[in-house]
């Protein structure tokens, strides 16, 4: 690529960057460079991302106790790479474990949108899957998938820590497949 055509490439406006970068990506796509780089780096991204799952530390109800139990020395969820972060900006998985009252509904949506992409959503326990014991309630949302798209459902009431780890190992496969598909220089 001839950088002399872009003399101010270090500091450019957003519009200039978009045209500059899409020209570069198109050039790499047509030359087959992107496919090569994807093939080379995809497994690296997948390995890194699937082994550093950072769910949002957002305990809602009794399943949050099981979430805590999964982190203790007996189950040790950190060995599959789960580290809870308290800010949605630092996470890539929205883990909802418990009933979602209708007053909480906009806040769940906001938390989901604050997580940087790519992001995954896990519905943990019957309440988050379908409302569970609060079927037809006046105040409980009948399932997390009415608000945000859900990737993995982990059933149980409450779920056991080993079931939760099993669900996250399923999610690892999903993360793995996503990054192996090739994500180099895609937004």
């Amino acid at each position: 690529m001839d950088m002399s055509l872009y003399p101010h490439a270090v500091a450019m406006s957003a519009d200039e960057f978009m045209s500059w970068s899409s020209a570069m990506i198109n050039e790499m796509l047509s030359a087959g460079t992107k496919r090569t780089v994807d093939k080379l780096t995809g497994p690296v991204w997948a390995w890194a991302m699937r082994n550093s799952m950072h769910p949002l530390h957002f305990g809602l109800a009794c399943c949050a106790i099981e979430m805590a139990a999964a982190s203790d020395t007996r189950y040790d969820a950190e060995r599959v790479g789960m580290i809870y972060r308290s800010s949605p900006r630092q996470t890539d998985i929205l883990l909802i474990n418990g009933w979602i009252s209708k007053k909480l509904r906009p806040d769940i949506r906001r938390l989901y949108e604050q997580i940087p992409a790519p992001k995954w959503v896990v519905a943990m326990g019957e309440c988050a899957i379908s409302g569970g014991p609060w079927y037809d309630s006046y105040n409980i949302v009948q399932g997390l998938d009415q608000i945000v798209p859900v990737d993995v459902y982990i059933p149980g009431c409450p779920i056991k820590p080993d079931a939760m780890i099993d669900g996250f190992m399923l999610l690892q496969k999903k993360i793995d497949a996503y990054f192996r598909r090739g994500v180099f220089m895609t937004d």
């Binding site: 009252s101 209708k102 007053k103 079927y135 037809d136 309630s137 006046y138 105040n139």
Partner: protein
């Protein structure tokens, strides 16, 4: 509270009955419980009374100021279809005595005096009773819905409220 000379720190069951009768006369009625198998009732730590709506605030203030009932354990509502009821549980820490006051209010005038100026802890109990039954507590500092969204225009614990599955 003990620096107040008028306060009776550990009023007995008989003290409460005689003092409240002397103060409020026929406006407060003591009722016998039908649940005789409960241990606390047999030991005399439960007292049931039915008060008129007009004297409820004075009665609550009297129980708090004179008879040392320092805590409002719960304020709840009951929908009896033909009328509504507000139930107060007041606790004396020194004797573990719990007084239950039931107040009947008519369906067409769901107003009652707030006791959150006497016990701050009654504040959220009254808000919850308001959001579930629609009973308005006059004099409450912030009578808004507590756990349900503000957009709700119904009161879900009323018998007239039907869920979709009950249709």
């Amino acid at each position: 509270m003990s620096e107040d000379a008028n306060i009776i720190e550990k009023p007995s069951r008989d003290d409460i009955v005689s003092l409240v009768k002397a103060e409020f006369g026929g406006k407060v009625e003591f009722i016998e419980s039908t649940k005789k198998n409960i241990k606390a009732i047999n030991e005399g730590r439960r007292l049931f009374m039915k008060a008129d709506r007009e004297v409820l605030h004075d009665l609550a203030k009297y129980l708090h100021d004179k008879l040392n009932f320092e805590q409002a354990s719960s304020v709840a509502g009951v929908d009896w279809v033909d009328h509504m009821q507000v139930v107060y549980h007041l606790t004396n820490y020194c004797t573990s005595m719990v007084v239950e006051i039931t107040v009947d209010i008519p369906n067409d005038d769901l107003h009652i005096a707030s006791v959150s100026d006497i016990w701050e802890g009654a504040n959220w109990h009254e808000r919850e009773t308001y959001e579930l039954f629609g009973i308005v507590f006059d004099g409450h500092p912030k009578l808004e819905r507590l756990l349900t969204p503000k957009s709700y225009e119904f009161f879900p614990f009323r018998k007239s409220y039907k869920l979709r599955g009950q249709e």
